[in-house]
């Protein structure tokens, strides 16, 4: 398979049924994208495929011919930069394991909806679990990132 990962063209030689998550982590040794549940229920493995927040544990590499994939290691959109700044400013992460996925989902939300309401945030972030329950700070940090982007 040929696809673009973080701006670089990559030739992947793997079983076409292998999920992108494991191609990233085990084949390409890119450990920023995390394994949490394997069934698209926790969002820890969220990446952007062709700009859309997607659970990489359910995206089979054989279906991604020609796709453009961006992971937490390289995301550099204005929304992502604002999110990462707000995440540090409001000291969001605790254990941090889910935060790659949270940041990828929040970045996609802000790109699409620069001034999200609380309902927008609930809808966009509902699929991202955080057992440390940093949710109150995630919500505040998304609002803060929207301010940063506007400024």
């Amino acid at each position: 398979m040929q696809l673009t990962i973080n701006g670089e063209p990559r030739e992947i030689d793997a079983n076409p049924d292998m999920p992108l998550l494991w191609v990233l982590r085990d084949e390409l040794k890119m450990t920023g994208t995390k394994f949490g549940c394997g069934v698209a229920s926790c969002g820890a493995c969220t990446v952007h495929i062709n700009g859309e927040a997607t659970r990489s544990c359910q995206a089979l590499i054989g279906d991604l011919e020609g796709a453009t994939v961006t992971t937490i290691e390289a995301i550099d959109t204005p929304a992502a930069r604002a999110i990462q700044t707000a995440w540090v400013e409001l000291q969001v992460p605790q254990c941090g394991y889910c935060q790659s996925g949270q940041i990828m989902s929040a970045s996609a939300l802000l790109t699409e909806t620069p001034k999200p309401t609380d309902d927008d945030i609930d809808a966009a972030m509902e699929g991202n679990l955080c057992r440390c329950a940093t949710y109150a700070r995630i919500r505040r940090a998304i609002h803060r990132a929207a301010e940063i982007m506007e400024a």
Binding site: F35, G38, S41, Q94, C95, Q99, A133, A136
Partner: protein, 726 residues
């Protein structure tokens, strides 16, 4: 967990030989000997000043060696704060690494071995890490004085800059000279009024990494060169035994390197995680019929309830509760049921081993390094020094990574040994739990059933209290048993009840500890997860029955506990008379891990009858607040974790098989259900106490009490999903 320990009792013994010389009586003392660098420890080759707890490098980094695992609770930053405070380092030059496994140097004074838990890290390290910072500061000052020819009294350090006699230098510029100085025989710590970080703030040291993917940070991210991945097929019921396995199909898969039998199950080793999981799917396994624990949770509940009718083992009985209840003006009787709970940290369990027959190296989020180390030594037949434990950041734990039986280290070591014994060349192997392995793998918060009879006298005060609990003992049979189990009673089952500070002079608490083949473990705040729920919902019922205000009723019974009364006052004052429009209010206050937390929940009932907690106002007294923002974060997260459990979490079993598989059916809190949280901290100068766990116990009863206000329903069987409330 593990907060019962006092140093007068014997330290728990590791599982193998005498590799530890545990010294008793080390509780909390200023052990300057433990932090002073020995001669020759300074790294003259690199020019770094290297002490066991702090390194200063020539490139001006201050590296704090954390003896505690940080799995999200902020301990690493807490320790960095203490060192930076006494060293007068700049916040942005401080980093944290995890200390090697070495119980002589890095033991938790409260456990007698190297380990993290029971919300003890700051309580245990407050003096030690400040002192470690003061020692390196003194050596930097001595180096500067010697280099510049000025008296040490003229040297100052501010925000990482050393000055004196018109000279300026960074800490790094003086590190090599400092390493050559005699360590001080004693140091004087700063007075609290001179603190620049403690009580004010210190940014979390690892957040830049954790917002950029935490690349390589966690145990799951360990990928030593040439590494393989292992997954284990474990029994369908706890304790069931394997009859036969056919691995033909698994071994035929491209990338499966081996199928190994170990006591824990059948292991598939492959070149990557996905293939290992595919290989496990392809195993044909036959388990011995009827082996292992075959009772389901319904049958267990029937047995637990039946046990309520017989007297149990007493825990600190006092007065004559039975007589007082016979004379009471009103008696309230209630039964409660609490389910098994999984910890389900976001990072599933994992550990990596490289074993070559002579030595072994481990990578992972080890939470009790000494027990993991000792367990691995026992399994591999190695001596303690032949094993290296590389502690990684933990992706959550909530108790799960601290196992008294070291089962994860044992299984990992078994895999390393079986791999080598099968004639393979040594390679790193990472054991990975899937989420299903985690949810179905046991080590749960034990199921518990309570029956309470509480009486009010004619004045509306509590007159007598009888309380029986049926729950498995967590500590019996572990290396911590002697600390926690006395006269057959596991204190973790009754904590928060038989040691309540409410004025209840006539109280009889007793327990049954049934034997069940389901492994149990401490779960964020341990017994308080159920005991606080019972105490604080009962207090609410009693207040209602007495026709008294729930805050006033509690305060009237807290004359002997000014700190608990203090946080309740604080939270009540800050919450104001009413919550947001359309909400109902519930209150709870509880002490755990020597910290005091009141939570006032404002709860709305949605149109579909489910509960939405809109706002929680908290009062917290955890002694000296080292990092106030981290205290806020831990209270937010702790109550979120507790709310998650009471709303929707339960592990059930059918004929011994766990019914839940993954997050779709073991359902943690999501963002839409997280309340707004407001935390108010008592500005205390008492010794610092726990903060990772104490936010969890009060939220359940606070919300349940609000639900009663809203609906008239007393929720006594958890979770709320059983009542259509979630």
């Amino acid at each position: 967990m593990l907060h019962y320990l006092d140093a007068k009792r014997p330290a728990p013994q590791p599982t193998r030989r005498t590799f530890l010389k545990l010294s008793a009586g080390a509780l909390g003392g200023l052990l300057i000997g433990a932090v002073i660098p020995q001669k020759g420890l300074a790294d003259t080759a690199s020019g770094a000043l290297a002490t066991p707890f702090v390194h200063i490098t020539p490139d001006n980094r201050v590296i704090v060696l954390s003896k505690h695992l940080d799995k999200g609770q902020g301990t690493a930053t807490g320790l960095a704060t203490l060192v930076a405070e006494e060293l007068d380092a700049a916040a942005d030059q401080v980093e944290v690494e995890f200390a090697p496994s070495n119980p002589e140097l890095y033991k938790n004074f409260l456990f007698g071995l190297q380990g993290t838990g029971g919300s003890t890290a700051m309580a245990n390290s407050f003096d030690q890490y400040r002192q470690a910072g003061a020692v390196v500061r003194a050596m930097i000052v001595a180096a500067a004085a010697s280099e510049w020819g000025v008296p040490t009294g003229d040297i100052t350090i501010t925000n990482g800059v050393v000055s004196g006699g018109g000279n300026l230098a960074t800490l790094g510029e003086l590190s090599a000279l400092a390493a050559a100085q005699e360590p001080p025989a004693e140091v004087t710590l700063k007075s609290p009024e001179d603190w620049v970080y403690i009580g004010k703030g210190f940014p979390r040291v690892e957040l830049p990494m954790k917002t950029r993917g935490s690349v390589g940070l966690f145990g799951m991210d360990a990928q030593p060169e040439g590494g393989l991945v292992a997954v284990t097929a474990r029994p369908p019921r706890f304790g069931a035994t394997l009859a036969s396995v056919d691995a033909t199909a698994a071994l035929a898969l491209d990338g499966v390197e081996a199928v190994l039998e170990i006591p824990q199950g059948v292991v598939v080793v492959a070149t990557n995680t996905w293939t290992a999981m595919q290989g496990r799917e392809a195993l044909v396994l036959d388990w011995v019929a009827g082996s292992g624990e075959t009772r389901g949770t319904d049958a267990l509940l029937d047995e637990f309830r039946a046990a309520l009718d017989a007297p149990g083992l007493p825990s600190h009985p006092r007065g004559d509760a039975s007589a007082k209840l016979a004379q009471a003006a009103q008696v309230i009787e209630a039964e409660y049921v609490f389910p098994y709970l999984a910890h389900a940290p976001m990072e599933p369990l994992d550990m990596t081993v490289l074993y070559d027959g002579q030595s072994a190296t481990f990578w992972g989020g080890s939470q009790i390094q000494t027990l993991d180390h000792g367990t691995a030594a026992a399994v591999l037949g190695l001596d303690f020094p032949q094993i290296t434990i590389n502690t990684r950041w933990g992706g959550g734990s909530f108790g799960r990574r601290a196992t008294p039986d070291g089962h994860l280290a044992a299984e990992t070591a078994m895999i390393g040994k079986a791999w080598l014994d099968a004639g393979n060349a040594a390679r790193p192997i990472k054991l990975v739990y899937s989420r299903e392995d985690d949810i179905r793998g046991g080590y749960y918060r034990p199921m518990a059933v309570h029956r309470v009879r509480a009486g009010l006298d004619a004045e509306g005060n509590i007159s007598g209290w009888e309380h029986r609990i049926v729950s498995q003992s967590i500590f019996t049979g572990t290396s911590f048993e002697s600390f926690v189990v006395q006269d057959g009673v596991d204190h973790s089952t009754v904590e928060g009840i038989s040691d309540t500070t409410y004025a209840i002079p006539d109280m009889h608490v007793d327990v049954h500890h049934p034997k069940v083949g389901v492994p149990t473990l401490w779960w964020r705040s341990v017994g308080h997860t159920h005991t606080a729920y019972v105490m604080e919902t009962m207090m609410d019922e009693l207040a209602v029955a007495a026709g008294r205000d729930p805050v006033e009723f509690r305060l009237a019974h807290l004359a002997e506990d000014a700190r608990l009364a203090g946080v309740l006052h604080l939270a009540a004052e800050k919450a104001g008379p009413t919550g947001p429009e359309g909400t109902h209010r519930g209150i709870a206050v509880h002490k755990s891990f020597n910290s005091y937390v009141a939570e006032i929940a404002d709860v709305r009932i949605r149109d579909d009858g489910t509960v939405k907690v809109e706002k929680v106002t908290c009062g917290v007294d955890c002694g000296v607040p080292i990092n106030p923002d981290n205290i806020n974060a831990q209270i937010e997260g702790g109550l979120g974790y507790g709310l998650s459990a009471i709303l929707r979490e339960e592990i059930t079993m059918v004929d011994g098989e766990v019914a839940q598989w993954n997050y779709p059916d073991y359902t943690p809190l999501r963002i839409a259900d997280m309340p707004e949280v407001e935390v108010h901290i008592v500005r205390s100068d008492a010794a610092p106490t726990g903060i990772g766990e104490p936010g969890t116990p009060p939220i359940g009863p606070a919300v349940a009490n609000a639900v009663f206000r809203a609906t008239g329903t007393r929720v006594r069987e958890l979770p709320f999903t059983r009542h259509g409330l979630a």
